[in-house]
Every structure is written in structure tokens, then in C-alpha cells.
């Protein structure tokens, strides 16, 4: 038993599959256990479509609420946004844009990684 830092990546766009919200549920689960693991939440590839400001977040609001209360932010990869013609103005307020090099740094500090 030990506290771990876990990198969660979200690689699929909502809503054709359930990964966007079940991944958040799993992240809440990881932070809520006895070990109180910490997480990073990173959106890559088509996953960045979840970070658009007008996306309906009804079914993930509960998980996002818990995570933001814990001080976590959603991090979207700049290169993935640019490749899809998404600008910073299109993003929700709780989204932070980071570079691919920053994502690699998050990979390096993580103990374990999980992809959704």
C-alpha cells in the first residue's frame, strides 16, 4: 500500500462511447481510496473535444465537482487542439492548455498511467 500519482489520459471524444465520463469516475475512485492517490487529468487527440465549453456535462458533473474541489484541473494538449482547429476561446473555464512537452513531463512524474 502506498500513495501513488496516477496520470489519467482521455483519448476519446464524447459521446459515442462512455470513456469520457467513466474515466472521470475512475479518477474520483482513485483519489477516494485509503491511500488517497493523486491524479493528473490530460486530454489528448480526439479526447480534447470534451474540453469544449459548450459540451453537455450533465452526466459527469458530479465527478468533475469532486475533482475540482480537490484542486484538479483538466489539461488539454495544445497540439491536439491545434490539429482540430480548436482555439483557447472555445474551451471551458476549468481547462488548462499545456504543450506536448508538458504532457511528457507529466508522464515522467507519474507512478502509474491509465488511458480512457
Amino acid at each position: 500500500m502506498a500513495q501513488k500519482h496516477v496520470l489519467f489520459t482521455f483519448n476519446n471524444a464524447p459521446y459515442g462511447s462512455i470513456w469520457y465520463t467513466e474515466g472521470l469516475r475512475a479518477a474520483v475512485g482513485a483519489t477516494s481510496g485509503i491511500d488517497e492517490h493523486t491524479v493528473d487529468l490530460v486530454y489528448l487527440g480526439d479526447g480534447v473535444y470534451f474540453t469544449l465549453k459548450d459540451v453537455d456535462r450533465t452526466d459527469s458533473a458530479r465527478y468533475l465537482g469532486t475533482l475540482t474541489k480537490g484542486g484538479y484541473r483538466l489539461k488539454a494538449e495544445r497540439e491536439s487542439l491545434e490539429a482540430r482547429g480548436i482555439s483557447a476561446a472555445d474551451l471551458a473555464e476549468d481547462v488548462e492548455v499545456i504543450s506536448r512537452a508538458d504532457v511528457v513531463e507529466l508522464v515522467k512524474i507519474a507512478d502509474l498511467t491509465i488511458d480512457f
Binding site: M1, A2, K4, V28, G29, A30, G33, H37, I114, D115
Partner: protein
């Protein structure tokens, strides 16, 4: 000896992830490692008791039963189990537990390596 944590999120009969997961778990157990697997989302369909499919010579449930026999811990997400109308105890092969995300958090704490499929 090390502990391999596994997260399996896809079910049998449609994607090959279950086969990959079972094969990796077998190889890890054969090398004397511990395996602790959490079944999430459709992953909970893998070790259910009643499976028949003529195209497969070995049913997924039997591969998972063999893992349990070799000492693997397999825990299914209870919310996912209930969502699919499955029942703890009744629908699962012996040795597979129905638990919850706290169990997954525990696996994260214990795992030397984690793979997600």
C-alpha cells in the same frame, strides 16, 4: 517477485482485450508474479458463469477461472455489475469478487506496474 495491476474495461466476444489480458496475466503468474485485476465497464462480462459461443474452443470465463486457480485476484466493479443486470455470487465463476472502485484504488497502491486494456 512483483505485483502486476490490471484494468480491463472491454468485454469478451467483441474485442480482443480480454484475450490479451488473460495471456499477459498467465505469463506473469508463470513467472511467479502476483496479478490483481479490476474489471470495469463491460470488463465485468468476462468471468460470468454462463457463456457459450461455437467459434471459441475455450470460453473466456474458463481462462479467467484458470487465472484465479493460479492465484490471481479478480474483482469486478459492483456499479458496472448492477448496471448490466448481473448478480453478485449468482452470475460469477468461483473466486471472482464483486467490489468497487475502492478495490481498484487498493490495486493502484499495491501495483509495481499497471496495464490497462
Amino acid at each position: 517477485m512483483a505485483t502486476l495491476g490490471m484494468l480491463l474495461t472491454l468485454g469478451p466476444f467483441q474485442f480482443e482485450n480480454w484475450d490479451t489480458a488473460a495471456s499477459i496475466a498467465e505469463a506473469a503468474l508463470d513467472k511467479g508474479h502476483e496479478v490483481r485485476m479490476f474489471l470495469y465497464l463491460d470488463g465485468v462480462y468476462n468471468p460470468i458463469k454462463h457463456q457459450t459461443f461455437p467459434d471459441l474452443s475455450v470460453m473466456p470465463k474458463d481462462r479467467f477461472a484458470a487465472l484465479v486457480e493460479k492465484g490471481a485476484t479478480i474483482i469486478a466493479c459492483g456499479v458496472c455489475v448492477n448496471a448490466r443486470g448481473l448478480e453478485k455470487g449468482k452470475d460469477y465463476i468461483d473466486g471472482v469478487k464483486v467490489g468497487g472502485l475502492p478495490d481498484f484504488a487498493e490495486i493502484i497502491g499495491e501495483a509495481d506496474a499497471l496495464i490497462t486494456l
